[in-house]
């Protein structure tokens, strides 16, 4: 049996692991962790083998489809894009599962934890493997569910329950946009295909991509603008990505999501699920590049998010929240990278995905290190830490490695540098290209400023946590080896993966849309999208090539001065009296705007109106009939006085009146 035919097992194995662990986890050793670990390991192995095969021959992708219901299907598609995601997801998930054996060892609800993470892994793998938009959406929702369950893992804690709900609802807004996009797409496809054909799966990517020219030709009037249907659809898809990948303005859930166990933050809210939005845009990249303006919207949102989140990252005192804002910021970079497809075409997918993979390594590492610290010292407030490096040398070392990777240190033009450097740099450079060709410098400015802030906040974290002297009386010890080994592995990847694979990775991913499954001509699609593609990477001015590194060094320097040397007293600046600090600390008053004003004020206002006015009116109409009837009954029964003379009078009056009434009506008629 060929390995390719086992591709469907990649998500199925963790799903089975979920079932077993959920129902029998209590009876298994270590809460049944062994089952998902084995299953995910198997999935990883299959993924890796298939990927290796695919590396040799990128044309021959793995594609399997079965009919699901109506004209829709379930299927597996492993092309270069899916392959790298698969390997990353299964690999990171595997490491984090192993790490969690130690991290969760004291929790009584271990079986539930491992079941849920297994289910998450299954759903995430299914998302990545999906060969059609519907299955992708289904998995998309399932990972959302798992995220909800895992954020609320400690559901007895009100803040966790609340954060879980917030995460689900906020991403749901994006999901609805995504769903709307699918709906519009389906309606258009039905129109274009003129109904259904047996054996053709309506929402499979090959089918969708084959209609791109027709879709882009369909125009609709939206708020006075003539826009192509493709633009509407892609923007709606991007709306989904905004929700899932924590882009502005739907990023609000992600910092709160840190209420879950740190391993969950690492797995779901750093490495895998949050990148699903990026993956979605990459997966439907042919549609985006054929849609005018869509990619620019993606670029702007991405760039802005990168900067916006970084500004909040520098004032957070919670270890995990700093990392959460960092994640949002980095996801912004990835989105920006994809949006820069407006200039660099298909290369954008490679650039962005490369950053995605590298980010997965270093951000998972950052979280796991943070988890290691929290696990050991029992707090995640950086103001109470300090000098942890002495207690936890391995953790400190690996985390510093991750920080270097995040900040992006390396030497341009060589293969020397951290993974983050090799993936973030091309994005910034591409942003420069955009400015150069379109005169649109804003994304570049965003990205470069964000790079500075990134270095500031991550080294602030490092210095505050690991350097100096303890600021409170915490115990602490180095974590067990089941935790430190994954840390070390990830640290290696965070440092060297980028440098080793950078050219091969890009080339591999460029094959994504030309193979046995789909074969689209990105160049002509870019024409439909009115984008001008340039291939100019590498001959930018030297300053531009060095600028990101210089900026990162500057950030490191600022942090060193402020937080290690403490050369400046920050008490005055970092106080609530400083409006800028307060604005940042209050996270731009998002809670006030979104939760208090919008959801409580507006939505509840509408609802209150409906319940207390409209529904009451509707109901009163019904009730009034009853009340009037009873009142009428009570009134009318009094006619029956019980005196026989009255009765006779009524009879006689009835005769007289009836005659007159009939006469009158007859006259009128």
């Amino acid at each position: 049996m060929a390995l390719e035919e086992l591709a469907f097992l990649i998500p199925v194995l963790p799903a089975l692991a979920f079932v077993i662990t959920f129902f029998f986890g209590k009876k298994l050793p270590s809460g049944g962790a062994i089952i998902p670990i084995a299953a995910i390991a198997a999935s990883f192995v299959i993924s890796l083998m298939i990927t290796l095969g695919l590396l040799a021959n990128p044309e021959e992708v793995v594609s399997q489809s079965v009919s699901w219901f109506a004209v829709l299907n379930l299927g597996v598609l492993i092309d270069p894009l899916a392959a790298v995601m698969l390997c990353m997801v299964s690999f990171v998930s595997l490491l984090i599962h192993i790490y969690a054996v130690g991290y969760m060892s004291h929790d009584p609800a271990k079986p539930r934890y491992f079941a849920e993470t297994a289910l998450f892994t299954a759903a995430m793998l299914s998302l990545v493997l999906s060969d059609n938009i519907l299955q992708l959406f289904v998995s998309w929702e399932l990972v959302g569910l798992c995220s909800y369950l895992l954020i609320g893992f400690w559901f007895a804690k009100p803040s966790a329950a609340s954060a879980a709900k917030k995460a689900f609802l906020t991403t749901r807004i994006g999901d609805v946009m995504f769903l709307t996009g699918i709906i519009v797409l389906t309606a258009d496809l039905m129109k274009l295909a003129g109904g259904f054909t047996d054996g053709v799966y309506l929402l499979r990517f090959d089918e969708i991509f084959s209609y791109i020219p027709e879709l882009s030709a369909m125009q609709a009037n939206f708020l006075g603008f003539e826009v192509s249907h493709l633009t509407i659809i892609t923007l709606l898809f991007f709306g989904g990505a905004v929700g899932k990948s924590g882009q502005f303005p739907l990023h609000v859930w992600l910092p709160d999501a840190m209420e879950g166990p740190t391993t969950v933050s690492a797995l779901i809210h750093a490495a895998t699920m949050v990148t699903a939005g990026v993956y979605l845009v990459a997966r439907t990249f042919p549609m985006f590049i054929a849609a005018p303006d869509s990619l620019m919207v993606v670029a702007y949102f991405g760039g802005f998010t990168a900067l916006f989140a970084a500004t909040m990252g520098i004032v957070m005192n919670d270890l995990k929240r700093v990392l959460a804002f960092s994640t949002i910021s980095q996801l912004g970079y990835m989105m920006l990278g994809l949006g820069l497809g407006a200039t660099i075409g298909l290369e954008a997918v490679g650039v962005s995905l490369f950053h995605l993979i590298n980010h997965a390594f270093f951000k998972a590492l950052l979280f796991l290190c943070a988890g290691s610290v929290i696990h050991a010292v029992g707090t995640h407030d950086m103001r109470e830490l300090g000098g942890v490096a002495k207690v936890m040398p391995i953790t400190a070392a690996t985390m510093t490695a991750a920080a270097l990777s995040l900040a992006g240190f390396g030497i341009p033009g060589t293969s020397i540098g951290t993974s983050g450097f090799f993936s973030k740099d091309p994005i910034i450079e591409a942003a420069y290209l955009l400015g150069e060709h379109n005169g649109n410098w804003i994304p570049y400015i965003f990205s470069i400023l964000a790079a500075l802030l990134t270095a500031v906040y991550i080294f602030r974290l490092i210095f505050m946590t690991f350097a100096g002297k303890p600021r409170s009386n915490y115990g602490g010890h180095e974590s067990p080896s089941s935790m430190t080994i994954p840390l070390s592995i990830l640290a290696v990847f965070a440092l060297v993966f980028g440098g080793l694979t950078r050219t091969g990775f890009m080339e591999f991913l460029e094959e994504t849309f030309t193979n046995s499954f789909v074969n689209v001509d990105i160049g002509s699609l870019a024409g439909l999208g009115e984008y001008e593609i340039v291939h100019a990477a590498g001959h930018e001015p030297l300053l531009i090539l060095w600028l990101p590194v210089i900026i990162a060094l500057a950030g490191l320097g600022i942090s060193f001065v402020l937080y290690y040397l403490k050369a400046v007293d920050l008490g005055a600046v970092a106080s609530m009296k400083n409006p800028v600090y307060k604005l940042l600390y209050k996270r731009y008053y998002q809670h006030e705007i979104f939760t208090e004003f919008f959801s409580i004020g507006v939505v509840y206002g509408v609802v209150a109106f409906l319940t207390q006015v409209v529904d009451v009116i509707i109901d009163s109409i019904v009730e009034a009939i009853g009340i009037v009837t009873v009142a009428a009954a009570d009134a009318l029964r009094r006619v029956q006085t019980g005196v026989v003379q009255t009765y006779a009078s009524v009879v006689i009056a009835g005769v007289g009146l009836l005659i007159i009434l009939v006469k009158l009506i007859m006259e009128v008629l």
């Binding site: 005196v643 003379q645 009078s649 007289g656």
Partner: protein, 83 residues
């Protein structure tokens, strides 16, 4: 409820007005002349004939009516059930 004489009077007036208007507004189909001799015996004879031929059924019914009212009246009027 007490009996309201003015109201009763009005009701009766209404009734009377309606009936009188009805009768006086009607052009009755009458014979041109009434029988001159009120003592004409043919009338009684005719009545008898009618009662025992055409209207024998109502006559029979009347027998039951009288019997029924007899029973009913006696039953109701008998004193045993008082108080």
């Amino acid at each position: 409820m007490q009996i309201n004489r003015p109201a009763a009077f009005l009701v009766v007036l209404l009734f009377l007005a309606v009936v009188v208007l009805g009768t006086f507004g009607t052009s009755w189909n009458t014979v041109s002349e009434l029988p001159e001799n009120p003592a004409d015996p043919s009338n009684v004879e005719g009545l008898g004939m009618l009662i025992f031929t055409q209207y024998v059924i109502p006559f029979e019914i009347m027998s039951i009516v009288l019997l029924a009212s007899l029973i009913g009246a006696i039953y109701m009027a008998k004193g045993e059930g008082s108080k």
